[in-house]
């Protein structure tokens, strides 16, 4: 029996979202919006990937 590769996209995107947020505090004030935008974008990508995985599992 061939084992299906696990889809870890959602988990990785959520991790990227957290990483982007972590760096907001370390960045100069002018560029904080970049980290916040990345955080939100990866949250959305993570949520979309999770929903996609769930719909395929059914």
């Amino acid at each position: 029996m061939i084992e299906k590769p696990k889809d870890r996209r959602a988990r990785i995107f959520f991790a990227f979202s957290g990483l982007s947020l972590l760096l907001v505090e370390a960045s100069p004030a002018d560029f904080r919006w970049v980290g916040l935008t990345l955080c939100v974008a990866y949250l959305v990508l993570g949520a979309a990937s999770w929903l996609d995985l769930r719909s395929r599992a059914r």
Partner: protein, 331 residues
Amino acid sequence: MEQTALFGVIGLALAFDFVNGFHDAANSIATVVATRVLKPLHAVAWAAFWNFIAFAVLGTEVAKTIAKGVVDPSVISIGVIFAGLVGAIFWNVLTAYLGLPSSSSHALVGGILGAGITKAGFGVVVVDGIRKTGVFIVWSPLVGLALGMIAMLLLMWIVARATNIGRTNRVFRKLQLVSAAAFSLGHGANDAQKTMGIILALLIGAGRLGPEADVPLWVVLSAHTAIGLGTLFGGWKIVKTMGNKLTRLQPMGGVAAETAAAITLFFTSARGIPVSTTHTITGAIVGVGTTRRLAAVRWGVARRVLWAWLLTIPGSALVSAGTYLLLEVVK
């Protein structure tokens, strides 16, 4: 004597730029070569042309960050820049030999940091400049990845209704020429400016220019010429890693990856942020790969690339610190 040393180090800075073009040539053309849109020789000529043209488009903000935003300009001397360049060139050559797409930009920042700190201690570090460069080490590939994925999803949505697959592929092969040109433009703008920054710092340090001086035109032109020539002689070992080993790309994927990376580079160049073109395009290629499935990305290779990223600044800083100490002993 000092004048000879000054011109010698300017020559070395331009050699670094040449090696940078050589090392990063793969970034501009990997996807074009991997999808067989252009033959390798035509692809490097195309990239070199756009590398050169970049001087007219995206300003010199990154050059100012390198000259004044890594270590305090008052400690910059011919010795510091020489040692910094030796550290960066050594690191670039080592990673090119190993086939690792590491960052020339961070090698340069690490080199200057190592030599500057060895000369005058940690107090000379320009914290804001390093913070800006530091956060974008992580953010630039993440921006590239997100934009690459979003661009790919958009394109997939657009072509979903296309009935003639052959024609769609042909359209994307042509579009890839445009996206590769845009990426090369961004690469030329961001990377050539780092050499301009080095030369600007040298000229200010040597008292040839005032502290508030802008980058002279001859410096701009010579930096773009050097990076363009370097790209023309490109590094083929890295082309292979970037184009085929990370993930296999079709023309549509190439367009998405290059467009995403170009947008990131235009933004960072305009805002004076020295980022790695290698990190950016790697992120974008991975982003395109993840739209298929995560298994399409070869994570083993991505992990090797990650190690090269993490080690670049400390590695080049260590070499430049050693070189600076050696110079002091010889003096």
